[in-house]
Amino acid sequence: MNLEHTTFNFAKKDAGNGVFLFVLTSLKNTVYQRIKVSQTKSLLICLHRFNTRQQPNYDLENMKRKLSLNKVKVSRQTEIAPGVFVLSFPRPWDFVAGQVLGIGAHETDEARLYSIASGELDDEVDILYNINPDGKLTPWLAKVNTGDNIWVSEPFGSFTGTGEPGWWIASGTGIAPFSAMFRTGLTAGKKLLHGGRDLHSFYFHEKFKSTFGDNYVRCCSREEGPEIYPGRLTKYLSEQEQLPANEKYYLCGSAEMVVEVRDLLISKGIPFNNIISEIYF
C-alpha cells in the first residue's frame, strides 16, 4: 500500500507535553497507523516514514524494561465459554494489533505472555485466556473481580497484522491476535480459519461471521453444528484444491497445530517465507 495513492482521514488528539496523536483512517475505514508527533514536526514527514505499515522497531532500552510489570485495575471479567475468560482493563499505552503482553499476579512474578485481543483504538485492553489447571497464573486470574489489581508489562512482539490479503489460522485461544487485528480493521482480503474441539470454542464468532461471511470457517473436531466444518483445521486445509501461494499465512496456537498446519501448507506449495507463526508457550 502506497500513501501517495491513498486518501486518509485523520483525527488529532492532544496527548500532552506538546505531543499529538494522529490516527490515520483510510476511506475504507481501516485504521492504518497511529502516529505520535511533536507540535513542531510536520505530519508530512511522519507520513513519509510510515508509507507502509512497518514492523515495529525494536527499541532496546524499552525492550529491557518490557517485562517490568505495572499495576492495572481490572474493569471487567467475563466467562465467555466454560473455563474461557475475557479480562479487560483500561488501555494504558498504544500497541500494534497482534502484540503480546506479560501478566503476573504480583510485581515480581515471572510474567506469562498473552496476546491482546482488543483493537488498537479500543479504550480497554482485552485478554482472552483459558484456565490451565496446572498453571500458576490462570487459576488465580479467573478469580479476579472488577476493581482488583493485576500486573501487566508493556506490549511487545512482531506477530503483527498488515492490510494485505492473507489467511488467519488459529486454534483455541490462538484467535486472540486475530481478534485484535480484526478489531483494528485489518480485515480486507482476509480469510479466517478457527479450529476448536467443541462448538463453544469459537470465541467472538458473531462478529467474525457478520464481517467475513463465507471467509470465516469454523472447524470443529468433536462436535457437529450448523455452518460448522466437521473435522480438524488440517483436514479442511488438506481438502482445499488450491491455496494462493502468494498470500501470507498467519498461524497462532499450540506448537502441535502450528507445526502440522505449516507442514501441510508447505506440502501444498506455499513457500515457507509466506508462513508466519506465533506459538503459545
Binding site: 505472555l113 512482531s158 506448537a255 502441535e256 505449516r262 507442514d263 508447505i266 506465533e278 506459538i279 508457550f281
Partner: protein, 354 residues
C-alpha cells in the same frame, strides 16, 4: 492404587539434608545419600551401605530411588549412541552419546517434545508432551554405561531448556557441584533459542556455557525459521548477553545451521559480523540434516567452508561441527519420539470404552 512416591534422585544436597531432617535422620545423612545417588552406580536403597538399615527402610517407605535404565540403545557406524528413555505415561525422550577421541559428550533432553516449532527441527514436529524433572534430565547421564567417561554435557537434545528453567538449573547445579557429578562448569553447555527472561536468570545464576540458536541475522528471515523471533528478537537476545561480563572461561556460542540459498550468502556473513562485532562469542556452523517434508536443504560443502572462512576473516571465531550419528537419527535436530507418541495414542484410542 498406591500413591506415586517422589524420587530422591535429582534432589540437591540442601533438599536431601532437609528430607533427612524431616524423617528424623541425622542431617549428615543428606550428604551420604548424595554420595550414593551421584557418585556411585547403585540403584537401590539397600545398597547404601553406610546408612543404617532402619534409615534405609524409612527412605524406601517414603521415596523412590529414581534411577531408571534406558529402554533401548541404537549405535551409529561412527560410534554415536542414541538412548531411549521412558518419561512415564506413554512419553519418551532420547539422549545422544557422542565419543570423539578423548572427548565424550552427552546431549541431554530437557522436555518431552518441544513447544518452539522451529521449521528445521524434528523434535518440534511432535509438539509438546511435558517437562522433565531434574532427576529425569540427570538420569540420562547416570543410567548409561558410558557415564564415567563423560567429559562434556550439552543441553541440546529434545526441548527448549529455558522453557523448563527450574529443572534445568537444578540439574546443572547437581551436575557441577562437588557433592554431585562434579563436572566442570566449563564442560556444560545449555542451548537456547533465546527465551530472554530465563536466559537472563541463567546468565546471572549459572557459570555454565551458553549456546544460542541464531540461524540468520535478519529479523524477517529468522521469524519464518523460528517463531520465537516474534516475541524475543535476536537483537534483544544479543543485547541481553552484552549486559553480562562473560569472563575469561565462560563460553557463549551462536549455533548456525546452514540452509542452501536461505542463510548462506555474503550478505549474511556481513550482517553476522556487524551484529556480533562487540560480543565475546564464537559461531558454530552446523550442517543441516534434512527432516521429512522440509522445504530446506543443506548448503553444499564448498559454500559452508567459504562461509566459515569469510567469518573467520572478519575476526569471528567460527567452527564447523562434525555431523555425528546421522544414520541412527541422533544428529543435531533429528531427535524425536513422535512415532512412539503416535503409537501410544493409537493404542489408547483403540482401547475398549467402558
Amino acid at each position: 492404587m498406591s500413591e506415586i512416591k517422589e524420587s530422591l534422585f535429582g534432589k540437591t544436597l540442601a533438599e536431601l539434608t532437609e528430607i533427612s531432617k524431616s524423617l528424623g535422620l541425622p542431617s549428615y545423612t543428606g550428604g551420604q545419600i548424595a554420595y550414593w545417588l551421584y557418585k556411585t552406580d547403585v540403584v537401590s536403597f539397600d545398597e547404601m551401605s553406610n546408612i543404617s538399615k532402619k534409615s534405609r527402610a524409612l527412605l524406601q517407605q517414603n521415596f523412590n530411588f529414581g534411577v531408571k535404565a534406558p529402554m533401548s540403545v541404537k549405535e551409529s557406524a561412527d560410534g554415536t549412541k542414541k538412548y531411549l528413555f521412558s518419561a512415564g505415561n506413554g512419553k519418551f525422550i532420547e539422549a545422544a552419546y557422542i565419543p570423539d577421541g578423548k572427548r565424550h559428550t552427552l546431549c541431554v533432553s530437557s522436555q518431552v517434545g518441544c513447544k518452539m516449532g522451529c521449521l528445521f527441527c524434528m523434535t518440534g514436529k511432535q509438539g509438546f508432551q511435558g517437562h522433565l524433572s531434574a532427576g529425569e534430565i540427570l538420569n540420562q547421564l547416570r543410567s548409561i554405561p558410558e557415564r564415567k567417561l563423560m567429559t562434556n554435557i550439552v543441553y541440546m537434545g529434545m526441548g527448549e531448556p529455558f522453557d523448563n528453567l527450574e529443572a534445568v538449573m537444578k540439574s546443572q547445579e547437581i551436575l557441577t557441584a562437588e557433592y554431585g557429578f562434579a563436572i566442570s562448569v566449563r564442560k556444560v553447555t545449555v542451548s537456547t533459542i533465546g527465551i530472554i527472561p530465563a536466559m537472563r536468570e541463567f546468565l546471572e545464576k549459572s557459570k555454565c556455557n551458553l549456546a544460542v540458536s541464531l540461524h540468520t541475522p535478519f529479523d524477517d528471515e529468522r521469524r519464518k525459521l523460528m517463531p520465537i523471533q516474534n516475541v524475543y528478537p535476536l537483537k534483544e537476545v544479543i543485547a541481553t548477553i552484552q549486559e553480562f561480563d562473560i569472563g575469561k572461561y565462560r563460553r557463549v556460542s551462536f549455533e548456525y545451521i546452514m540452509f542452501k540459498g536461505v542463510n548462506d550468502t555474503r550478505r549474511h556473513v556481513n550482517e553476522l559480523a556487524r551484529i556480533l562485532n562487540k560480543v565475546k562469542s564464537r559461531i558454530n556452523l552446523i550442517r543441516f540434516h534434512p527432516i521429512p517434508d522440509t522445504p530446506l536443504l543443506s548448503s553444499d560443502e564448498a559454500t559452508i567452508l567459504d562461509f566459515q572462512q569469510a567469518l573467520n576473516d572478519k575476526g569471528i571465531v567460527t567452527t564447523l561441527r562434525a555431523s555425528r550419528g546421522q544414520d541412527i537419527e541422533a544428529a543435531c535436530g533429528l531427535l524425536s519420539t513422535k512415532e512412539l507418541v503416535k503409537a501410544q495414542r493409537e493404542m489408547e484410542d483403540n482401547k475398549p470404552k467402558a
